[in-house]
C-alpha cells in the first residue's frame, strides 16, 4: 500500500481550499438527513439512529403491509447495507462486482442508470469468497462507491458517470473495501478492511471536489500517523502521552497491526467530531503480539476538518478473541444517571453495551447485553478495562491450546449490522448473536497479501439455548435488556425504528419482521426470497410511506447452508433444534419494497 504521510501543512492547505464548498455540502446534508421523506445516508442520519419520523405505517396497520415492487440486483452474494432514497430516485448497490443502479421511483423502479466498475482481478482471491459492500453515500450531487478493490469512486448522481476515483489501499497487500463511505462537510470519509491480512487500519478523508486526500489517521503507529496529540488527546480523561500508538507494541509489529476500520462512521455537526471504532489487532494469536496493542479495538473521536483525535477509548486491550470494535456509534442526547448528556451508545462485539460521554470520552455505562457473555466479569469503570476470566483467556491458556466455551464467539454478541434508537421510547433496538466458541491460537508468519490469522475457531449456540440470535430492546441508562425476542438464527440485519411505534428487521431465513417498539410483540412478517443481511430503511414518495430491504445470503452461505449449526459437545438432544438454514432459504439478490394497501 502506498504510505500517505500526514503533514500539518497539507492539512491546512486542504482546509483552505475546501472551506467554501464545505459550508455548502454540510448544510445540504444536515438539512436532508432531517427530511423523513428521503433516506439520504446508510443509517438514516449522521447520528446513526436508523430512526424515521414517518408514521403512516404504524403499530395499528403494519399487519396489512404488502409488497409494492421488487428488483433483482443480478448478483447472488451477500447483500449488506441498503438503498438510499433522494427525491424521486433510489440508489441500490450490489456486492462484488459492486454494481450501482439509480432507480426511478416515479416508474416502479425503472433503471435510470447503471454503473459497473472494472476491478483489478487480483482482488478476487483477497475478497474470497463473499464480497459484501455496505452501500453507497450521497453528497454534492455525487454518489460515492467504495469498491471491493479499495477504490473510492465519485459518480455523477444524475448520470452515473465517473467524476473521479482514488485508490485507498492495495488489494495485493490484502487491503479491501467493504464499508459505506460518509460525506462530512466537503470531505468523504472511508475506512479499510483487511485485518486478517495484517493491514494497518486508517480512516481517510478525501475532498469531495476532486478526490485529493485531506487527512489520514492510522489506528496505530507514531503520533504523526495516528494524528494523536500526546498532550491534548485523552484516554478516559488523561493525556495519552507520546507515541501511544507504538509504545504498547513489540518492535515494529504495529506496522502490520490491524485495527482496520470497516464499520460505520457517525458525525456530530455541533462538536464537529467523527466517531468510529477500530478492529482487531493482527494476528489472532495473542501470544505473538504482547502488549495492549493500542489503538486497536478503540473508539475514536476525531476532528472532522483535521482528523486530529480528541479522545480515544480502548475497549478490549490486547484482544484474544477477535472482538473487533468496529460496530456503529449511535449519538443521542439523553438523561444518564439523572443528568442530561450528549452520549454515544455502542454495542461492541465483545458483548458489552457502552454508554460514553461523546464530548469528553468519559465512560458512563458498560454492561453485558447478552447474559451469555462470560469472557470478562465486568468492565472496571475507573480504568475502562474488562476484567478477563483466566479460563477464557486464550493468551493465558497459550498457543496450541484449545480454549473452550468462550461467549460470545468471534462474530461477537453483535456484528456490524446496525442497531436503531427511537427517541419516542428512549430504547435501542439491537440485532444480536447468541453464539459461543472454542478458540485455539497458533504461530503464524507474515507474508504481504497472504492471510495472517493464526487461530482456529469452532462456533455453536450459547449453552442451554436452542436459538442463535436475539432481537433485543436496550436501556442505555440502566444498562439493561428491556425485552428480548429469540430468533432461530443470528440476526444479521440492521434495524429500523419509526415514529409509528414499529421496529423492523430482517432474519437469515429471509423474513422481514415488524415488532411493537414498546413490547417487542410481532406484528407482521413476510418471507422474502433469500436470507436478509441488509439493513431496513423507509421513505415517503408521493405522499406514501414505503419500507425497503435487500435480501441475499452470500456465497459463503452457499456452503453454510449445507447444514444447520450443531454442537456435538453440548448435548446431542439439541441437534434437532438447529434445522438447516437451507431448509428455509436460498441464495439471492433482491430488493423488496413494502407499502400499505390503497
Amino acid at each position: 500500500m502506498r504510505q500517505f504521510r500526514y503533514t500539518a501543512a497539507a492539512a491546512v492547505v486542504a482546509l483552505a481550499i475546501g472551506s467554501s464548498g464545505s459550508a455548502f455540502a454540510n448544510a445540504e446534508l444536515i438539512g436532508m438527513q432531517n427530511n423523513p421523506n428521503d433516506w439520504v445516508m446508510q443509517n438514516g442520519n449522521y447520528a446513526n439512529t436508523r430512526f424515521s419520523e414517518l408514521d403512516q405505517i404504524n403499530a395499528g396497520n403494519v399487519k396489512d403491509l404488502k409488497v409494492a415492487w421488487t428488483f433483482s440486483t443480478g448478483v447472488l452474494r451477500g447483500h449488506e447495507g441498503g438503498p438510499l432514497v433522494i427525491g424521486d430516485v433510489m440508489y441500490v448497490h450490489a456486492p462484488f462486482p459492486n454494481t450501482v443502479f439509480a432507480l426511478d421511483l416515479k416508474d416502479n423502479g425503472r433503471i435510470i442508470w447503471k454503473y459497473e466498475p472494472k476491478q483489478d482481478p487480483s482482488v478476487i482471491p483477497v475478497m474470497c469468497c463473499d464480497t459484501v459492500n455496505r452501500g453507497v453515500a450521497y453528497g454534492d450531487d455525487k454518489i460515492f462507491l467504495y469498491q471491493a478493490d479499495a477504490t473510492l469512486v465519485a459518480l455523477d448522481a444524475k448520470t452515473g458517470t465517473k467524476v473521479w476515483s482514488v485508490s485507498n489501499g492495495d488489494p495485493n497487500k490484502g487491503a479491501t473495501g467493504t464499508s459505506a463511505p460518509v460525506v462530512v462537510k466537503d470531505k468523504v470519509l472511508v475506512g479499510i478492511s483487511g485485518g486478517e491480512f495484517g493491514v494497518r487500519g486508517h480512516l481517510t478523508a478525501y475532498n469531495i471536489k476532486d478526490g485529493s486526500m485531506a487527512w489520514r489517521g492510522y489506528s496505530m503507529g507514531p503520533d504523526a500517523d495516528t494524528l494523536i496529540d500526546p498532550q491534548k488527546t485523552t484516554h478516559l480523561g488523561k493525556p495519552v502521552g507520546k507515541d501511544s500508538g507504538t509504545s504498547t507494541w513489540e518492535g515494529d509489529q504495529w506496522k502490520i497491526g490491524g485495527g482496520t476500520t470497516w464499520g460505520w462512521y457517525s458525525y456530530d455537526p455541533e462538536l464537529n467530531l467523527v466517531y468510529y471504532g477500530s478492529g482487531n489487532p493482527s494476528t489472532w494469536n495473542p501470544v505473538q503480539r504482547p502488549g495492549d496493542n493500542r489503538w486497536s479495538m478503540t473508539i475514536f473521536a476525531r476532528d472532522a476538518d483535521t482528523g486530529m483525535a480528541k479522545w480515544v477509548y480502548q475497549m478490549t486491550p490486547h484482544d484474544e478473541w477477535d472482538y473487533d470494535g468496529i460496530n456503529e456509534m449511535i449519538l443521542v442526547d439523553k438523561e444518564i444517571g439523572g443528568k442530561s448528556r450528549k452520549v454515544l451508545v455502542h454495542f461492541d462485539r465483545n458483548g458489552f453495551g457502552y454508554t460514553v460521554d461523546r464530548v469528553t470520552g468519559e465512560l458512563l455505562v458498560a454492561e453485558k447485553y447478552d447474559p451469555a457473555v462470560n469472557w470478562a466479569t465486568h468492565v472496571d469503570m475507573a480504568t475502562g478495562r474488562p476484567q478477563v476470566v483466566p479460563q477464557y483467556s486464550t493468551h493465558h491458556n497459550g498457543e496450541d491450546v484449545n480454549s473452550t466455551g468462550i461467549c460470545p464467539a468471534a462474530l461477537g454478541s453483535k456484528d456490524q449490522q446496525p442497531a436503531s434508537y427511537s427517541p419516542k421510547t428512549g430504547l435501542f433496538y439491537v440485532p444480536t448473536n447468541h453464539v459461543c466458541m472454542d478458540y485455539e491460537p497458533f504461530r503464524v508468519s507474515y507474508t504481504a497479501g497472504q492471510p495472517y490469522v493464526g487461530a482456529t475457531l469452532s462456533m455453536y449456540p450459547a449453552p442451554g439455548g436452542d436459538h442463535l440470535g436475539n432481537f433485543i430492546a436496550w436501556d442505555a441508562d440502566k444498562g439493561e435488556i428491556v425485552w428480548s425476542n429469540p430468533e432461530k438464527f443470528s440476526v444479521w440485519s440492521g434495524a429500523l425504528a419509526t415514529a409509528g411505534g414499529v421496529v423492523f428487521y430482517g432474519t437469515l431465513e429471509g423474513y422481514l419482521k415488524a415488532v411493537d417498539a414498546k413490547t417487542g410483540k410481532e406484528l407482521y412478517k413476510f418471507k422474502t426470497p433469500s436470507g436478509i443481511i441488509g439493513n431496513v430503511n423507509t421513505y415517503m414518495h408521493n405522499g406514501k410511506q414505503y419500507v425497503a430491504v435487500l435480501s441475499g445470503l452470500g456465497g459463503w452461505a452457499g456452503i453454510g447452508m449445507a447444514a444447520g449449526l450443531t454442537d456435538p459437545t453440548a448435548g446431542l438432544g439439541a441437534v434437532g433444534a438447529y434445522a438447516s438454514l437451507s431448509n428455509y432459504t436460498n441464495l439471492g439478490g433482491q430488493l423488496t419494497v413494502f407499502e400499505l394497501p390503497n
Binding site: T260, A410, W556, A557, G564, L565, D567, P568
Partner: protein, 155 residues
C-alpha cells in the same frame, strides 16, 4: 474479524457449524503405533480409535486458516471453489502440491492463488494433504475439530 472473506467464514461457521456428519464410509484403522508413524504419500495419516496423528490435526488448523475461506469448512466446497474432500478421492500428493504451490485459473473470475511464498502453507502441505485425505476417507467426520494423538517429536 473483518476482512471481507473472513467475516463471512464466521457467518458460514455460524450457519453451518461442526456437524456435517452423515457419511457412510467404512474407514480402515491404521496398524502400529502413532509414535512411529511418519507421513507418506500413500499413507498420509494415522487413524485409530477415532483419533488422528498430530500432523493431520495441524492440517485441520492450517486448512482452516488459509483455505477454508474459499473451499469451505472441512473441505466441503463453496459456491466459489471445489469441495476438496471430493477432489482428494483421486488426487495424488504430487498433483496436490503442484496446484497449491503454483495456483490455477481455469475459469475467469475463479482464482486458485499460488502459495509458493506463504510460510503458513508451504511447510505444512503434507499436513493439509493428510487432513483432506482423512476427510475424503471419512476418518474425520464433519467439520469438527478432530480428536488427536499427542504430538511426537522426532529427533
Amino acid at each position: 474479524m473483518k476482512p471481507t472473506c473472513l467475516r463471512n467464514p464466521l457467518l458460514a461457521a455460524l450457519l453451518l457449524g461442526p456437524a456435517l456428519v452423515s457419511n457412510g464410509y467404512a474407514v480402515t484403522e491404521s496398524t502400529g503405533d502413532y509414535r512411529i508413524f511418519t507421513f507418506s504419500a500413500e499413507e498420509p495419516y494415522f487413524y485409530k480409535d477415532g483419533k488422528v496423528d498430530f500432523g493431520t490435526y495441524n492440517g485441520f488448523r492450517r486448512y482452516h486458516s488459509e483455505c477454508h475461506v474459499c473451499h469451505g469448512p472441512a473441505g466441503l466446497g463453496s459456491s466459489y471453489a471445489p469441495a476438496l474432500m471430493k477432489s482428494m478421492e483421486t488426487m495424488t500428493f504430487a498433483q496436490f502440491v503442484d496446484v497449491v504451490v503454483r495456483g490455477r485459473q481455469q475459469r475467469a473470475n475463479f482464482v486458485m492463488p499460488g502459495f509458493a511464498e506463504n510460510m503458513n502453507v508451504l511447510p505444512y502441505l503434507h499436513d493439509m494433504f493428510a487432513y483432506l485425505k482423512a476427510r475424503a476417507d471419512g476418518a474425520i467426520p464433519g467439520a469438527t475439530r478432530p480428536a488427536k494423538f499427542p504430538k511426537v517429536d522426532i529427533k
